[in-house]
């Protein structure tokens, strides 16, 4: 049986009762999110941290200040587009004057409504939580999106994009699995152009080179600020959990304002002593860690470690790579944007993915990391497999790695803690032996 959803959409997979009970959970999801956010922030503030973090704290509540701001922006005719993953090209949305908001969700409570539909499908909690967020209508920002752009890196995201169409306009971007070939690049370039056409149709404007040029320049400044920040992390003046929050505020913030605040944070970090000079230097990789699912970062840093670097698509990778434009023509700029999202990304959806292992090795050496924690969300097969491969490669170089599987709920907290503590104790014992 099909019914009809908001805006006359046809309900193909969901039904009215399901949505009704999801909507009834809206308040609970919002409340739990607020509680989790405030709880984490309190824990994070209890430690030595840069003053400039206050700005990012203020932007940390997904349903807080920034949501209100975006609400006003939309009410006055502004454009807001939802995205998932790293691959939805921010520059393109910005060129149309739209604010892209990444909706990969880290909210545990939002998993429940999605379970009514997908509980038995063995999907990762990130995808379930994102779906639950939409079904419940808990995110005011997601509710005012004109469109949600869903790249298809893995089966879970692919099906998420499909199912989301019951409740919102979706644009799928077909991501090639093999990125190193001409064909791969060409097909991705086509996807970028397809997105441009879709947005042109949606907003009734033609994309002009100056619009794109301006957007690219704005993001280049953001990317430069982020690279400056990434390099400064090496000195240890900031906890990894704070650095990750900075990255993820960019998921919904005004990008120029975010850039300014990252630079301000960098100024402060220049002269800052390490927050934990004795801590075991850990590099965090694997499945995306999405605020406020801060379980693994908090456990690492509560157990005598510091996340000195990461290779997460929700962390370092978010803003690291610049768009490098050869020719400032429309075609030249589109190629540059397309390449920026495809070539340097080490998402496990690509094969071969040698650059991920090499990246991890290089980064660990550069940042003096003594071990890697590879986070795998339960149900995320791609990262689980990449973890197995990375373990072999890192151990060959005598770099220890710990693979931790985890869910969004707190049920596995102590089990994960034991593994992380043991790993950090092992690293410290090694250090004592060799020093």
């Amino acid at each position: 049986m099909t019914g009809s959803g908001k805006g006359g959409r046809v309900l193909r997979y969901m039904n009215a009762e399901m949505l009704e009970s999801a909507r009834a959970a809206r308040g609970r999801i919002q409340e739990a999110a607020r509680e989790q956010v405030q709880g984490h922030l309190a824990a994070m503030r209890a430690n030595d941290r840069p003053r400039a973090m206050a700005y990012f704290d203020g932007m940390a509540d997904p349903f807080g200040k920034r949501a209100e701001e975006l609400g006003r922006f939309r009410a006055s005719g502004g454009r807001v587009v939802g995205t998932l993953c790293y691959f939805a090209p921010a520059e393109i949305f910005a060129a149309f004057g739209a604010v892209p908001v990444r909706f990969c969700s880290g909210l545990y409570e939002a998993v429940h409504p999605a379970n009514d539909l997908l509980g038995d499908a063995g999907l990762c909690p990130l995808v379930k939580s994102t779906l639950g967020l939409k079904m419940s209508g808990a995110s005011p920002v997601l509710e005012l999106c004109d469109l949600v752009v869903v790249p298809t890196p893995c089966d879970a995201k692919l099906k998420l994009g499909e199912i989301l169409q019951d409740t919102v306009e979706v644009h799928l971007m077909n991501l090639p699995a093999v990125k190193g070939t001409e064909e791969g690049r060409a097909s991705w370039m086509n996807e970028i152009k397809g997105l441009v056409r879709r947005l042109e149709g949606l907003y009734g404007v033609r994309l002009m080179p100056r619009m794109l040029r301006k957007a690219i320049a704005t993001y280049q400044r953001a990317q430069a600020a982020w690279r400056r920040f990434s390099a400064l992390r090496r000195k240890g003046g900031i906890w990894g959990r704070d650095a990750l929050l900075v990255a993820q505020v960019s998921f919904h913030d005004d990008i120029a304002r975010w850039t300014e605040n990252v630079n301000r944070l960098c100024d402060e970090l220049e002269g800052r002593p390490p927050v934990a000079p004795e801590a075991a230097r850990i590099m965090l990789g694997g499945s995306p860690v999405i605020w406020p699912n801060w379980k693994v970062p908090l456990l690492i840093e509560e157990s005598g470690g510091i996340i000195i670097a990461d290779e997460l698509c929700s962390g370092s990778r978010t803003m690291y790579d610049p768009v490098v434009v050869g020719e400032w023509t429309m075609e030249g700029m589109l190629v540059a944007v397309a390449e920026r999202y495809l070539v340097p990304c080490t998402c496990p959806s690509f094969s071969p993915n040698l650059d991920r292992e090499e990246n991890m090795l290089r980064r660990m050496r550069e940042f003096g990391a003594e071990g890697a924690v590879f986070h795998v969300l339960r149900g995320c097969h791609l990262n689980s497999l990449d973890a197995t491969k990375a373990n072999v490669v890192l151990r060959r170089e005598r770099l220890p790695m710990l693979k931790v599987e985890s869910e969004y709920d707190e049920g596995d907290l102590e089990q994960v803690r034991t593994r992380i503590e043991a790993f950090i104790e092992m690293i410290r014992a090694r250090r004592e032996q060799s020093g």
Binding site: R395, P400, E405, E414, Q415, T418, R419, E421, A422, E425, M426, A429, R430, Q433
Partner: protein
């Protein structure tokens, strides 16, 4: 120097009192609803055995699943590190390079390097599959006391295959086998084999190098030992009291801390 180690496991709490480098007392009790209370009782009996009082303890370190919930300890350490420490203490001269430990809810394989430092470790990632609980639950279904499982299984001529390591599914397999009138000893031998296979897979993940040390409560089970030896093709080193190795490690660590701080 007098110290203690408490290992607050999910099924048993173990305590060890160490006096000048020798184990003088120990205690073991099933984990009660109140971890801290059980820990105090266990420590009490270990102290009694050593003829000492609580005030005489210079330092206490806790480990195990409940390590953070007891107010007795000054410091906590993960059970992986404590187990390795305990192994170094009870088997220093034996050239142990691999530790296998079956606990109540976690099963572990630890690889040691030449200097007996931890080189790598693996733990079961889910539920009670392949842990001490697995044997306990199935012993319950069979109506066999946990201490009788080992001797009984040795009588088996042809162990039966238990295909599931999930406790819930294995339970129904066992129920079926009982209903089919299969001999208990063959079922029990099959249970040990299933668990041994699982543990061996984990061990191979970290690399099996001799000598292989086997501890944790189920290491007392002679049938379990035999199954694991067969699976791995090695003779296992089993300590005299496998259940308290991890608690001993915590006590040894406590002594090291005390020595560092210049205490007596």
């Amino acid at each position: 120097m007098i110290t203690a180690g408490i290992d607050l496991g999910s099924t048993y709490v173990k305590g060890v009192v160490l006096v000048d480098g020798a184990v003088k007392g120990w205690g073991v009790q099933p984990t009660g609803p109140d971890h801290d209370e059980t820990a105090r009782a266990v420590l009490g009996s270990a102290l009694q055995m050593a003829g000492l009082r609580l005030e005489e303890l210079g330092y206490i370190v806790s480990t195990g699943y409940g390590r953070r919930v007891t107010s007795l300890a000054k410091e906590t350490i993960s059970e992986i590190s404590a187990n390795a420490e305990g192994t170094r203490f009870v088997a220093r001269a034996l050239g142990v390079r691999t530790i296998l430990d079956i606990g109540g809810q976690d099963t572990k394989a630890i690889a040691l390097d030449e200097r007996l430092n931890i080189d790598n470790f693996a733990m079961n990632d889910k539920c009670a599959a392949g842990t001490g609980r697995f044997i306990e639950a199935l012993a319950g279904v069979l109506g066999v006391g946990i201490d009788d499982m080992g001797p009984l299984s040795l009588k088996s001529q042809s162990p039966l295959r238990i295909t599931s390591t999930c406790t819930v599914f294995a339970r129904s397999e066992v129920v079926t086998l009982i209903a089919e009138g299969k001999p208990k000893e063959d079922i029990i031998a099959g249970i040990h084999e299933a668990l041994a296979k699982r543990l061996a897979t984990m061990a191979r993940k970290v690399g099996v190098r001799r000598e292989v040390f086997f501890d944790g409560g189920p290491a007392r089970n002679i049938g379990m030992r035999a199954a694991l030896e067969k699976e791995l093709g090695v003779t296992l080193v089993v300590p005299e009291r496998p259940q308290i190795v991890t608690a001993t490690g915590a006590a040894v660590l406590a002594a090291a801390r005390l020595a560092k701080a210049g205490g007596q």
